[in-house]
């Protein structure tokens, strides 16, 4: 696989591996059938992401995108984290092979799922509002990203 130096660095020494006990938010996306699962843990205080950790089952690109995505959202506001796109994740890694681009989409979705979890626990928004704000994908069927 033709990975950039950045990707190799991130899967060799991934940042922020682990979980957060009693995290403010947890989001999990992907499934074992497709070969990628990303679980994102966030600690949120006063609308700021104080800490982010992850656990990922997947290929080198999945590990690297999880690692860099947690770095990119730390210290950001919820709104800034929601605005992070998979393209920015890919650029931060100096690119990904075409067949691995779906990993960056998973990272974006994991952040969105985690923030949705935060809003649900918060209880102030309706599910409809959460889905809209976090741009959540339907989860009723298994689809592997291409």
């Amino acid at each position: 696989m033709n990975y950039s130096e950045k990707v190799i660095d991130h899967y060799t020494n991934p940042r922020n591996v682990g979980n957060i006990k009693n995290a403010s938010a947890v989001g999990e996306v992907g499934n074992a059938i497709c070969g990628d699962i990303m679980k994102m843990y966030l600690e949120i205080e006063n609308n700021i992401i104080k800490d982010a950790k992850f656990k990922t089952f997947g290929c080198g690109a999945a590990i690297a995108t999880s690692s860099i995505a947690t770095e990119m959202i730390k210290g950001k506001t919820i709104e800034e984290a929601l605005a992070l796109t998979n393209k920015e994740v890919v650029n931060a890694l100096d690119g990904l092979p075409a067949i691995k681009l779906h990993c960056s989409v998973l990272a974006e979705e994991a952040i969105h799922e985690a923030i949705a979890d935060y809003y649900r626990k918060d209880g102030k928004m309706s599910e409809e509002e959460i889905i809209k704000k976090c741009n959540l994908k339907a989860e009723n069927f298994i689809h592997c990203h291409e």
């Binding site: 591996v17 070969g35 089952f57 997947g58 290929c59 080198g60 999945a62 590990i63 291409e146």
Partner: protein
């Protein structure tokens, strides 16, 4: 950094002796074997010697050996050639679900050409379900193609019995023996084989050089149109150096095959013992008894194969995996799914295939590395976390 090559089912290092034998055919004896002057005749002799070397190993007649560019071409030449030449007898072909893509993809092509193909299931160890196989035979069946030994899990199929059934029913029997040749004795007479593919680079010969055995009397179409080379079945100036390398490589491989197999088997068994003793939650894939001596295929639960391979690569260890991430497709290996593995277990497979240049010290280094890497990846895995918390079994 020292490198450890344990991907001998993918390809092998060319033996020095083979290379030495090949070199003059690039620089000095470069003539065309079809030419009538002495430079050409020398090459013709070299090609015919290689044909004898291959025939001797298979217990075949030299005139039943056709040189090709490798295993995939041999499989294409056999299946398409036999199917088209025997179309008047019927249009049904039987194969298995764990064939190499060179067979499966060719069968898909033949289906588009009007042939009907049955894909037979295998059991949980990868052995062809003979009862299912027998039931598929019908009046229109003209060809059976079953892999001799599987490239991923190393399972050896009951070739002699399949050949016997084929013969009793007057059906032509082809076997893709690309992984088996060089690792076990194969006698086409004893095993009732009508057609067989082999590839030089799997047994320390050069890439781009293979052969097809077709029993005398079996009709098959010319595969490459053009000149009259290879008894008018495959046109094109012979790859003389490649053919010479193939002949030498097969001769060396069978000079002391028992000793070679013992060496591979001792490394493989030691690897299995160590990996089972030192890493929990693993599964050995494939049959333990009917198995190629150098093949070890193990699934490590809760982790994904590409991550494993990348980390092994950082330590200089070269192996392979049945994970989707390494194949460029979305699905894990069709072979691992055919033996009933879940996607998760299939994604976590690691194939280590030993060869003659591997040593016991290397196995120790691989095991030490695996212990460290599997632990690291599991600690990163949400599936392992769920497992430890009792959420999944």
């Amino acid at each position: 950094m020292k490198s450890i090559y344990v991907d001998n089912a993918a390809t092998t290092k060319v033996d020095e002796e083979v290379l030495t034998e090949m070199i003059p055919y690039f620089s000095e004896n470069y003539g065309n074997p079809s030419s009538i002057y002495s430079l050409g005749k020398e090459n013709k002799k070299a090609v015919e010697l290689a044909r004898e070397q291959v025939a001797k190993v298979l217990n075949a007649n030299p005139e039943e050996i056709y040189f090709t560019s490798g295993g995939s071409e041999s499989d294409n030449m056999a299946l398409k050639g036999i199917a088209f030449a025997n179309k008047h007898r019927g249009n049904h072909i039987i194969t298995s679900k764990i064939e190499h893509p060179a067979i499966l993809d060719t069968c898909k092509f033949l289906e588009k050409q009007g042939f009907e193909v049955s894909y037979i299931d295998v059991d949980e160890n990868g052995i062809l379900k003979l009862d299912d196989f027998k039931k598929e035979i019908k009046d229109t069946t003209i060809l059976i193609s079953i892999i001799f030994a599987n490239n991923e899990i190393g399972t050896i199929e009951p070739i002699k019995e399949i050949g016997k059934i084929a013969r009793e029913n007057k059906i032509i029997f082809h076997t893709d023996a690309v992984q088996a040749i060089g690792n076990m004795n194969i006698d086409v007479q004893e095993l009732n084989i009508d057609s067989l593919s082999l590839s030089a680079h799997k047994f320390h010969g050069p890439k781009g050089s293979g052969a097809l055995y077709v029993r005398k009397g079996i009709k098959f179409e010319k595969f490459i149109n053009g000149g009259h080379q290879e008894k008018n079945k495959r046109a094109g100036t012979e790859n003389v150096a490649g053919i010479v390398g193939l002949g030498k490589a097969i001769e060396i491989a069978y000079k002391d095959i028992e000793k070679h197999n013992e060496h591979l088997l001792s490394l493989r068994n030691y690897y299995f013992e160590e990996v089972l003793a030192k890493i929990p939650y693993i599964k050995i894939n494939g049959d333990l008894k009917n198995r190629l001596p150098g093949n070890a295929n193990v699934s490590f639960r809760f982790i994904e194969g590409e991550g494993l391979l990348l980390n092994l690569d950082l330590k200089g260890i070269y192996a392979s995996s049945g994970s989707a991430c390494t194949s460029g497709s979305l699905d894990p290996s069709h072979v691992l799914l055919a033996i009933g593995l879940t996607h998760e277990i299939a994604h976590g497979s690691l194939r280590v295939t030993f060869g003659k240049y591997n040593s016991k010290d290397e196995v120790d280094f691989i095991i030490d590395s695996l212990v460290e890497i599997v632990d690291k990846l599991r600690n990163m895995s949400p599936l392992y976390e769920d497992f430890l918390e009792g959420e999944i079994k």
